[in-house]
Subunit: 416 residues, 2 copies
Amino acid sequence: MDKLIGACLVAQSGGPTAVINASAYGVIRTALDDDTITHVYGAAHGIRGVLDDILYDLDLEDEHELRLLLNTPSASLGSCRYKLKDYTEDDTDYRRIMEVFKKHDIRYFFYIGGNDSMDTCNKISKFLQKEQYLCRVIGVPKTIDNDLYGTDHCPGFASAAKYVITSCMEMRRDCNVYDYYSAVIVEVMGRHAGWLAGAAGVATATGDGPDLVYLPETDFDMDQFLDDVKRIMDERGDCMVVVSEGIHDKNGKFISEYGAPDAATDSFGHKQLGGVASTLVSYVKQKWGVKKIRGVELSLLQRCSSHFASATDINESFAAGRAAVKAAVNGMTDKMMAFHRLTDVYGDYACEVIPQDLSLAANTEKKVPREWINEAGNGVTQEFVEYVLPLIQGTPNLPLENGLPRFAKLKRIVAK
Amino acid sequence: MDKLIGACLVAQSGGPTAVINASAYGVIRTALDDDTITHVYGAAHGIRGVLDDILYDLDLEDEHELRLLLNTPSASLGSCRYKLKDYTEDDTDYRRIMEVFKKHDIRYFFYIGGNDSMDTCNKISKFLQKEQYLCRVIGVPKTIDNDLYGTDHCPGFASAAKYVITSCMEMRRDCNVYDYYSAVIVEVMGRHAGWLAGAAGVATATGDGPDLVYLPETDFDMDQFLDDVKRIMDERGDCMVVVSEGIHDKNGKFISEYGAPDAATDSFGHKQLGGVASTLVSYVKQKWGVKKIRGVELSLLQRCSSHFASATDINESFAAGRAAVKAAVNGMTDKMMAFHRLTDVYGDYACEVIPQDLSLAANTEKKVPREWINEAGNGVTQEFVEYVLPLIQGTPNLPLENGLPRFAKLKRIVAK
């Protein structure tokens, strides 16, 4: 294998997570320490920063601040949601990317992101190959949705799952505190895959979790749901429900598009729409007259809360970034770093980083297996719980200042 | 002082907090260890449990589980929102309470709660005195709102404040991650007092906090707000706002009652109402055309999230419960335990527990001083930040099981 000497570029893309910076640090630290890599750059706002030639010179950052990336949420280099066209139709962006790569002698490109970002990474990789511009391209996965194909799980999922589980445990204690009927309906991210909502089943296994969990992998039936809630309320006086934002009925219509049964309509006869939690709250209120019921949207925090992240997730995210650089320096290209679940010699959970074809990861979506959801479609199985549990282990060694998290403060000096 | 031998009853009331159980444990542990106290009971759901004669026998609980109350959120004995009538008008409830007290020989009564609970506690204390039933009654304060009079701060406030601050720090990193205009508006609890929303100013002081903070202590002006947001967006490309749920205009109308400018109206011409965050989101969208803007309601989690509570708050809450028992055993009655802020010999923060008259605490509300809010009414001063900072210090030593918080599991055996 030929030794490829040149600069390295890392970029982040898509929705932030608690650990996308840990992956970036895995890339940056390993690249800075490698002799074949001449310089380390970070693109501002993913591929947008490449197109605009705004690359941060990461050689100029303090090591101490870089290290804080391990516990800093969101994407410190900035992110984007820019979609590249097919280069067989329009290669303008690709030519510009290659031009900027040439200018800075970029020979290693690491793109950290989810489905769409792996697609971007794949297209760039294929274009550069076609143009015979020597550059090793590796994708590093990231998504709280956990829906990337070809990997046991995705960096970012476990920390988001731990946030959902812990929040459910805490809210469960709050929900049943009064001496009258009360309920809470929690809305969790996940448009097509229910991994994150399903993780709430781990809270149930501790004794402090939702009674009912609904995933987009099964069809949601409003009448069945209302009966489920009534049964639980009668049994225990309170009820906690977790739903994926993407739950839909058997005709494929999103429940969030139902609108409240009593919602006002605008002059065109359209109902005002809220989120799925507030829609379900309205239905329960109307059907059963429950007054003490709340909808809670976990919103941004489920993807950016880092102070109680999974240490396993942080370690694995760093390892994925590190393995990407090691593999590229050793000649690999056109791959995504994936996780393979192992059992170690003690019978405990272990995980190794393995390469997968970029094109495979880019175009397939992984959903929760139907057999990991109970028959009634209102909860998850013990197998699901056992899949999640090892991933959320470990409390991060959180750097603090004045009792609060100390996040990385990068200089972000733009390279000339 | 006469030694009063008899049983002790502890009860919890009002909205849960992260540390109301720590106060309960302060009472329970100290009472169990005291020779003059013959038995320790906990009322189910506050004063409701007394009226229904549902008292848990806390002598039968495992010490290990009781100790876990230090890190268990919400009210493990159950809470209530029951309001006692004035006994000069109707003393039915009071006679029933005295009857149950007599039955179990309750001679010490500790009521943990906020404004309304101190009122309940005060009325019971005065009634029992009038009836010459010997019982020492002490209130232990609790409220995330921090609006109790006669105490430097309230148990529960600091942990909720730390949750708000940390969440704002994390969301700030998420809010400015993309390369286009984006904004987030965070709604924090506090109907009349802005302590909790104002605490978000501590996040701003770290460099990762809201640009704008609005409290109910000043009048909110929609035009001024929209101008503030525009100015910040133009300056930095993104904007983070924190508001108390209770903000109102100069006529006293709640902003949450404005409704969205484009909201559909029902057949009576009434606008559909959301929370204050969603109302403000609608106004910003309509006025400035900002598309990437989110409203986030911290909802239940701000009052029940315990995994990153303030260790100072936990210690002080325990100390307040403990001091209540010690004082009562030594002859004190008809008081609320309050905090007095001190500077220790090293010039650092310290705090002592002092008794305050129950009647005083019961009927006065403490608001944020106007001079702790900036002139424009869109942020807090350094003085406010310095008030909050010492209270949120310390990371709790969180008992874990399978990587997740291990909450107390009480047997709650009802006394005969």
